[in-house]
Amino acid sequence: MISANLSAIFYLISGILFILALRGLSSPETSRQGNYFGILGMVIAITVTFLSTGNFSSGFVYVLIFLLIGGLIGAFIAYKIPMTAMPELVAGFHSLVGLAAVFVAISAFLNPEAFNLGYPGNIKLGSLIEMSIGAAVGAITFSGSIIAFLKLQGIMSGSPITFKGQHPLNALILISIVVVTYLLCSTQSPNLFWILLAISFLIGFLLIIPIGGADMPVVISMLNSYSGWAAAGIGFTLENTALIITGALVGSSGAILSYIMCKGMNRSFFNVILGGFGAIEKSSSNTSKEQKPVKSGNAEDAAFLMKNASSVIIVPGYGMAVAQAQHALREMVDTLKKNDIKVSYAIHPVAGRMPGHMNVLLAEANVPYDEVFELEEINNDFANADVAFVIGANDVTNPAAKTDPESPIYGMPVLDVEKCKSVLFVKRSLSPGYAGIDNDLFYKENTLMLFADAKKMTEDITKNL
């Protein structure tokens, strides 16, 4: 058994290792080392916890058994999961962090002596407040992530679910969470603790259902942040430095990612959270849609254009992930490169369903990361490029965001695809994108629409090159 002071120092060390784990992600070269720091930090934290309790009785065996069961499930998932399912996986993992926080809070509430927090019915006020916050945020994270998971999996419709009185209802529940927490802290009644958990689960559910599929990058980042705050709340209860540091890191990480995603869509955080975006289609754009002429082509035309180009920029989007076209795409690019054509990739911050989604898929297809560029890095290059190959992206290329103040996406940063000499647009149909708005790019003189499945079209082009 080691002293409380010594274990506190070890918890601090594991906290620092977690900071280094995130620091490593500043470049792909240092990232793998960073991940090892994270693992080391976790091993230290768990080992110190065992040593500080000094309890190696039969309970210890059960701890190891449950640890092993969870570990095996986790490892199995990590090896089996396809890269395209990464958003679902992350959402699922968030829900587990939330639920674990809830369970730890419950056991601390039922047996506060084990944590030196007082006695049942007489828990230290500060601890009870921290515990309630941790439990409530954990519960919101859990149910919110479950909904996000179901939407990403396609089990639940990705379109926003809205109903009358939604916002007043949510506000009412949020207020009641505060009231119940206050009553719980003054009466210590277990019933109020269960009520608090129940309404927190409910509000997590209600907060996420009105948010649509393409807003998922914000939702996932936000839930990431929540899971951190939940961990920090429990960290305060347990007086554990590692947990407090980690909670703060994860909380701010998720918050920054949400901010970056909101900026990528030029929408305020509250606008996304209040939801329902894209549910109402603009009637003005619908009326003129049918009359405008569209040039459509086949794989041969596309191959011809690309063969005669000297530089090509690829713009991937969620459609590429759905069609699993990343490998076919890389094969096409390989062929282009053999013909001495310069190829680069342009990634919009909100392309896909989570931050960095496209980058992971391209990395999976063995695309070197120094050929992949962010919006600010590459946007000036479109004017000098011969062909832009838009595969599965739509709204992030819509020039209306720059020119049409009426457009719902006006002000959103977009890729200047239209400045290319010619634009190839792989799409299943002319249907508007998620935002429910028409893309002027489809009707431009220099745009060639390729109506097909992204993967099949890419393969066909490669054959024709």
């Binding site: 976790m42 369970f103 047996n111 305060f236 992971v360």
Partner: protein, 103 residues
């Protein structure tokens, strides 16, 4: 006048938020997905609370109501720890630089 230990923890918390702020802004956007999976893994350090709860059951009743929730939380957190770190590892292994082999 003695300072409440809570204030010390609060200080650590606030300072960590600032560290997190600067560290996360320096993460390259192409690694944002691994960032999420690794933050997932490290926030599961909540397992330390679960272990304390699990070990708190006395020898006559290892599974009382409190420790049972502890044991369940151990498994949940372990799924995240192993799953989170391993899947991050798998992703990071895919990020490669351009090879200099021009045919």
């Amino acid at each position: 006048m003695e300072i409440d230990p809570f204030i010390f923890r609060l200080s650590i918390f606030i300072l960590s938020i600032f560290i997190g702020y600067y560290v996360v802004w320096s993460v390259t956007p192409s690694l944002h997905t691994p960032l999420m999976s690794v933050t997932n893994a490290i926030s599961s350090v909540i397992i330390v609370g679960a272990i304390i709860a699990g070990l708190a059951g006395n020898s006559e009743s290892i599974f009382n109501s409190s420790s049972t929730f502890g044991f369940l939380a151990i498994s949940l957190a372990a799924i995240n720890i192993f799953g989170g770190f391993l899947v991050t590892q798998r992703m990071l292994a895919m990020y490669k630089k351009k090879k200099k082999d021009k045919k």
